[in-house]
Symmetry: D4
Subunit: 147 residues, 8 copies
């Protein structure tokens, strides 16, 4: 049985790589998917469709192009990992978590102890809270390959 795991959230540290390498070491039959994590490319995703003078509409077009990818990947995933870092608003990560919750997709949150309180609604609908990528790998290993 193959699994698809969607990695959502923070793009400024290498947590995605750590999880993917950990999964590889365990030989897990997992395909990892993700939004485009290159910040500039992501912000410019809609520019090919024509320039916008108004920054709201530039953002709007790019966010919708990105949404085609994100929505498809969330709907196809078996499990999502949603990462909150210590910087920025990261409302898109919470938004992805809300989609997962409504679609019945089990998700794991990955964040420090310091932000437990503001994330309580997001954690309450999660299946697990991890503090390190290693923990996520261990959980995936258990869920996917434990006999």
């Amino acid at each position: 049985m193959h699994w698809t795991v969607y990695l959502s959230g923070e793009i400024h540290t290498d947590w995605r790589e750590q999880i993917q390498q950990g999964a590889e070491k365990h030989g897990l039959p997992v395909v990892f998917t993700s939004a485009v994590t290159n910040h500039e490319a992501s912000d410019a995703a809609g520019d090919v469709l024509g320039e916008e003078s108004d920054s709201f509409w530039r953002d709007h077009k790019s966010a919708k192009v990105n949404a085609m990818r994100i929505k498809t990947m969330i709907e196809r995933c078996d499990i999502a990992v949603v990462r909150f870092g210590d910087k920025y608003r990261q409302w898109n990560a919470a938004f992805d978590a809300g989609m997962c919750a409504a679609l019945g997709k089990p998700y794991i949150t990955l964040h420090d102890e310091s932000i437990i309180h503001p994330l309580k609604e997001v954690d309450a609908a999660a299946m697990a809270w991890a503090q390190t990528p290693e923990q996520v790998v261990e959980v995936l290993n258990y869920v996917i390959s434990k006999k």
Copy 2:
């Protein structure tokens, strides 16, 4: 035809009251619903079920009790209004928006111009972006009662 409108997000200003009063002035056939907006009561929602020494689990229990209310109200609403203020993380508001998007509930975002960029994914799935409660009232008035 009666409408149900769920009001999600910021609890530190009186935007909910402004919208409700505006709707009343127009005589709109709307029932407004909302999470518990009393901060202390909300944080303590699960305390009746037993004390917790660990703050994660206290938050967890309270968030789940609140979720029974929020999830039911979102699933029953026709339209949601999701408000982002200028303070706090407000991940719960983005989480609610993600649920609305996945459930096909049309929602209106209500926030200042200064946070357009970090909210672009949330706005991209919204049916309208308003900057003032008055605008929300005007939109509701049009949607619900315009002949």
Copy 3:
């Protein structure tokens, strides 16, 4: 048992009024719903949210405000009537019909014989094709109140 009937399409003739009056004569327990049929008001539905210099975005904002109403009414209706007149593109009427088909909402098309061929896909998913509002009234009367 009460019924809700959504009236979609052409706004330049009085077909809606004819159907509503016919239903009233028969004393049918029906609530009729409809998009805003005032053309100028409909085109300006989003203006309250701020002016747009680009006509694409003005249309976009207005169409989304209207969609909050239309989507809700289609999802709540038991039957839809979709009217195609002899002028304009009326892509929104065909779009509504596609939504009805996908949502399993039975719909009746109302149009002249002259446009049978270009409407064949829309008619193929319809439950009836009527040429006059009187026929629609007769069908509704049968479906709703015939013993």
Copy 4:
């Protein structure tokens, strides 16, 4: 991850081929699907089931045979592209777009600037509006293969 893209609408220009060739150049893992685009064959799709003297029923039978293909392909696609040309009514394209919207299938519209206004409802539910097949290819390339 493989993707399926449904190409809906106009059959009188080679926009389908342009998109398919563009995707091939980029080596995208996409299967493109489409209704039968041979006009005569499409109109005659139901003739094998018996001749009809009444043109409404001939159209009806053929449209239903075509619908078996179209509905299956739309339900299986990840993304749709809906093309509106400058001729004919093209109500079937708008109908397909309405189905996509109701099913939660993200779609891209492809049309000239001259028909923005009559397509505003169709564009409002789309994830992107493109004016050329090249733009569609660029968007697909970004969505599907951008790291």
Copy 5:
């Protein structure tokens, strides 16, 4: 709590009346719904939309007009009763039962012992098999009003 019960099938005996009178005697809070049970009216349901020379299409139009009523009533019912008599093919009753099964609507079959074998697939998906209208009334009474 009010209940809606759809009565499907045979139209040549007074089983519907017997069930309705029995429910009334028990004072059950039930609304009973049903297809049009007047055979001639039912066969002619589509005639108002124009005459057909071909009997297949006359039947087709009438069956679709009837389907608007039947489908809506089945989707709204809490329980269905599906009656098979000893005459005619009654494929429409089996068709209704199949719809109920797929929609998760619990249904009770009502038929004689003599046709157990050909009805085994229909009975296998039913929640009860009754041989008399009195038994149906007793079951409804228990399900709806037993403390």
Copy 6:
């Protein structure tokens, strides 16, 4: 806003009455529903449909008649309370909880500390665990009527 609360499980103590009386004291707008809690009546629910010599089939018929009531009530409820006592197997209560989980119905478990371990899967999908009917009443009061 009215709420419907389904009370599932143990029938040998008066926990249902305690919750209903508590809700009444608070004036909560709740309708409580429940399976038939009279043990003998419940076991005999299918007897009216004919005697069975084989006890498996007697149970089967009765369980299905009861299921018509239970399934409808679970599907209509906003919240369920699932009670596990200290006697009997009570597999039907766990079965109801599994249905609630799959249908997205939030539920509260009500049981003693002594059976935490065997109920861990049922509790893991619950929104709250209460040990007394009073706690359930307090939670319902908060969820339903807290401003």
Copy 7:
């Protein structure tokens, strides 16, 4: 793109083989599925689970074992063909058609002209009516492989 086609109904003629051979000649990428068509085996499907003295329960057990296969195959199919012969009640075929209709599975009916009238409800929800297996093959060939 591969297709799955479910063949439902009559088991006394070789219509299934004719369709499968026709599809093979055209090289169509189709997997055909079907209930067990050996009459005795089908009637005895539940016997391995224990003998029944009552014929109702023997039929019941066998029909449920068969339903595990039929339901799975219908839910997985893209298109169904439902065949009605000139003998027997064939209520299971009409039941399958009702399931297809409710699940949105397009189906083709295959029957003689002589039974148009009793099948009008089943035909009204079908996408095509064929009189010969050859016609079914032609329709499948067009739907699946026509460029």
Copy 8:
């Protein structure tokens, strides 16, 4: 056509192995899935996420990690087998059965005659009741491979 069969319940006898070996002998194209059946490992599934002093929360964390696996496997299965042994509460098996029932997944129960009465609700929603693993194998063989 490949099938996926989820094996739920008792972990203290080798019924899973018997079914798998039986399926292998018949050469059935089946993938069997299962929760982690190592009792200690299952109870400790959440320990990697941090120690808990409170046994309720330790169980809670582990049960949720296990639920990610179980829920995914149930949603992906075509058929489930739910086994009840003669020891322990086994509420998780009944919970899985309830999920299957609500999701429309056909399931077979596997248990002794001695517990028919307490399992009547679980059996009533099952497609078959088997007393031995051999019977389950025979049923799977028939359902999956009988011509």
